[in-house]
């Protein structure tokens, strides 16, 4: 069974209904390490060696965060800047993350219609996540399609429950996958 690391980054977790549900479905699962960055590093002082050790121990890395200004909250960016070191995560000697699975779990306030060529935001979520995709590529990881929960303000408790179950199922799948087919 593959081990899953959920790098959760939400500055206002206590106020997020959708994320509370999602996290409750997956945080205690077997083989899942739920790592709450804003709780761990309230002062943005990231313990890089510890983070590298965590990454090494896991096969699946999930960047779980709300969409803030078409990107992630600042602490996750800080995490990327600090932890993914040259010649460790990338560069000629940088093989530490190679062939790990990587994906984003995204929540957005706006619904799906806003994220398309006709919508206010002009681009799709996948397009906005290109920097993450390329980061994963550079680190020789296998980047998967994001898990998205959109229009969170409008979702009923029942809707959210379904999303939670789906998130849990996705993690089951990722854990049982033998190998990832690269395209």
């Amino acid at each position: 069974m593959k081990k899953v690391l959920v790098l959760f980054a939400h500055p206002k977790f206590e106020k997020s209904r959708a994320n509370n549900v999602l996290v409750n479905y997956i945080k205690d699962k077997e083989g899942v390490t739920f790592h709450d960055l804003y709780e761990e590093y309230p002062d943005f002082h990231i313990d890089v060696p510890f983070e590298k050790k965590l990454l090494a121990e896991h096969d699946v890395i999930i960047w779980h965060h709300p969409m803030y200004w078409y990107s992630c909250p600042p602490l996750l960016k800080q995490w990327i800047d600090m932890v993914l070191e040259f010649n460790w995560a990338y560069g000629p000697e940088g093989k530490a993350l190679s062939s790990k699975i990587c994906l984003n779990t995204i929540t957005t306030g706006g619904n799906k219609e806003l994220y398309c060529t006709q919508g206010t935001n002009s681009y799709t979520i996948t397009e906005f996540l290109r920097p993450f995709e390329q980061t994963a590529n550079l680190c020789l990881m296998h980047y998967q399609k994001p898990f998205t929960v959109m229009g969170t303000y409008k979702l009923s408790d029942e809707d959210l429950k379904i999303y939670g179950e789906n998130y849990s199922m996705l993690i089951d799948q990722l854990q049982s996958k033998e190998a990832i087919v690269t395209t």
Binding site: P11, K12, Y38, P42, P66, G109, Y153, K154
Partner: protein, 635 residues
């Protein structure tokens, strides 16, 4: 002359105060003021002091001794060793050159060779008192000129011992005179053979060094523990007196002994405390010394043979200046520095009084020769400040490098840009953090036990009371950028900060305050950087409490920052408000009222709901409505 001691003292003090303040008003050095005061109250003008002039001179030489002790304190043995080349090189060259030239000059004047030799010895020496006082007053100690002058003067202070040793060899082997000198100087060693003399000299030097390490420092520690400040002053005097006495007893220069004592104590934690204790004392004694020099100018001798005196005076100054200038050239001093050196050391020094009267006792000099030379010595000293003024006002501006060239100090304990007062729990945290960033603050603390421990751990800590300007000055406040006041006694904090703000407005003050009320007072006095010791810690505790109660750490972290910001603004706002009658009895109640008022304000303003970015209810509502409208319109 009434003969009353009090009357004499009044004459001296009044003369000094009037003349020095006039001199200072005119932008002249204080030395000149003292000298003029001496001339005025001396036997030839107002006649307040007559024959006692010489006794006073003898007593006032103690000022020179104290000064050398203080100079010694500034020099750590290591630095002294580093300076050995410039001391021996420049000093040796200067003394040798001056002696040869003046010897030839006095031979030309048909003096006996022995007389010429003794006089040339006297001429070679410059006045440490005058030169150092001027250098200090102008703050030039750290310049190349200051260093060079210092090296030369130090060499002279050492060489004078050998001169005093050599003069008896020139004596006309008149047994009566030898007995006279014995009676007069009362040295222990005069009757002893040469070998024993040398041994006694070496022994006394060893004694001073040993006593410094094993007797004086432990004594100072004990005295410091009593907390009685005047005992430290008494100890400082005791040290200087004892060393001088010992040196005089074995026939060495007391000034050199005091210097040596200073060097021995320079690495102790009491360095700055001793300095600040003796500094005012030194200045007064030196003032007395200058007055005595002024008073001892014998105008009768001058009136008798004005041309001879004038001629010799001019020749002596020219010879000294020429040699000093050449020495400066050999050691590659820049022109401006070299001119400063040349003109500030071109006088004959106080040791000449000693050498000449010693030679007179041994019948080498006759009365007339001694009188002439004493007058010339006093005159060269008096002229020096005037020559310096001419040099600074008219010559140096012409060569265009008026600014003295600073170079990194290499022989005086480094004064830091940061001074940290108080190394208790608060100050030590600050100091350690600064140190870990390569900033070594000069630390002042008043707990002698703590000072001991810290020095053992390698911190540069000095014992002393920082409310005293002299101690702050000794710690280098004049060059400091920042003074951190980390002591836990608000009245003392106020005293220090007031003092520094007034005397050294360029120094940035970072002040520890105990609570809001301290902070109010400091703010109202115009201080800006105020750190309430309890603010961060108490919030950090409150933060952890809330975290244990299940609040998110990141949110709490931001709230703490918000709270500090909010509280600082409110502090500044409230400080400006009138506090009313601050009677002690009402203080507690007032504080409670204040707290109540603050809490109420916090509650009204709702700082905990301050941080409303993303996911706030308001945005949520707006978006919900918008989306509902969208979907209803598309449907």
């Amino acid at each position: 002359m009434t003969g009353s001691l009090l009357f004499d003292a009044i004459v001296f003090l009044l003369g000094a105060i009037i003349c020095v303040s006039i001199a200072k008003r005119l932008g002249l050095s204080s030395v000149l003021g003292y000298l003029i005061a001496g001339v005025l109250i001396g036997p030839y003008v107002l006649g307040f002091i007559g024959e006692e002039g010489e006794d006073i001179l003898h007593f006032a030489e103690f000022g020179v001794v104290v000064m050398l002790f203080l100079i010694g304190l500034e020099i750590e043995p290591k630095n002294f060793w580093n300076m050995r080349k410039s001391i021996a090189g420049m000093g040796g060259l200067q003394v040798a050159g001056s002696m040869i030239l003046s010897y030839l000059f006095f031979i030309l004047l048909n003096f006996d060779w022995k007389v010429a030799l003794v006089i040339s010895m006297a001429v070679a020496l410059s006045s440490t008192a005058i030169a150092m006082q001027t250098i200090d007053e102008k703050g030039l100690m750290e310049t190349t000129f200051g260093n060079s002058a210092f090296s030369i003067l130090l060499f002279q202070d050492i060489i004078v011992i050998f001169m005093l040793g050599a003069i008896p060899l020139l004596s006309n082997s008149d047994s009566e005179a030898a007995i006279d000198s014995h009676e007069a100087s009362g040295n222990l060693l005069d009757g002893l053979p040469m070998g024993y003399q040398t041994l006694a000299i070496i022994l006394s030097v060893v004694l001073i060094i040993g006593a410094g390490q094993y007797l004086i420092v432990p004594m100072l520690r004990r005295v410091a523990k009593t907390g009685v400040r005047e005992l430290l002053f008494a100890s400082a005097l005791l040290i200087v007196f004892s060393i001088s006495y010992l040196m005089e007893y074995v026939g060495l220069s007391p000034a050199l002994g005091a210097f040596l004592g200073g060097v021995v104590l320079s690495s102790s934690e009491y360095k700055h405390e001793l300095e600040s204790n003796l500094e005012p004392f030194k200045n007064l004694l030196l003032g007395l010394f200058f007055i005595a020099v002024g008073a001892s100018i014998n105008f009768v001798v001058i009136a008798k043979i004005p041309l001879t005196i004038g001629g010799i005076l001019l020749a002596v100054i020219l010879i000294k200046a020429l040699i000093l200038f050449s020495t400066g050239k050999v050691f590659k001093l820049k022109l401006d520095q070299n001119l400063l050196l040349t003109f500030s050391l071109a006088q004959i020094g106080e040791f000449a009084f000693v050498l000449l009267s010693f030679a007179f006792q041994l019948n080498i000099l006759d009365q007339e020769q001694m009188d002439i030379m004493l007058v010339i010595t006093a005159l060269t000293m008096s002229i020096t400040p005037i020559i310096s003024i001419i040099n600074e006002r008219f010559i140096l501006p012409k060569i265009g490098t008026k600014e003295s060239i600073k170079r990194p100090m290499d022989h005086i304990a480094k004064s830091q840009n940061v001074i940290l007062v108080g190394f208790g729990h608060f100050g030590s945290t600050v100091g350690r953090f600064l140190r870990s960033h390569g900033i070594e603050a000069t630390i002042l603390d008043q707990d002698s036990n703590r000072v001991d421990v810290l020095r053992k751990m390698g911190f540069e800590v000095y014992y002393g009371d920082a409310t005293r300007l002299e101690l702050l000055e000794a710690a280098g406040i004049a060059q400091a950028k920042i003074l951190i006041c980390a002591i836990d006694n608000p009245p003392v904090t106020l005293e220090i900060t007031k003092l520094v703000k007034e005397k050294y407005p360029h120094v940035e003050l970072m002040i520890r305050a105990q609570n809001r009320n301290d902070a109010y007072e400091l703010l109202n006095m115009g201080f800006e950087n105020i750190y309430r010791e309890s603010l961060d810690t108490s919030l950090s505790l409150a933060k952890d409490v809330l975290s244990k109660l299940g609040f998110r750490k990141y949110t709490l972290n931001r709230q703490v920052q918000n709270f500090i910001k909010y509280d600082e603004t409110s502090l500044r706002r409230l400080a400006a408000e009138p506090k009313g009658n601050e009677d002690y009895i009402f203080k507690v109640r007032k504080e409670l009222e204040e707290q109540e008022r603050l809490l109420e304000e916090d509650f009204k303003r709702g700082i905990v709901e301050y941080d409303n970015h993303w996911d706030s209810e308001s945005i949520r509502e707006v978006l919900k409505d918008q989306q509902n409208n969208n979907s209803s319109s598309t449907n």
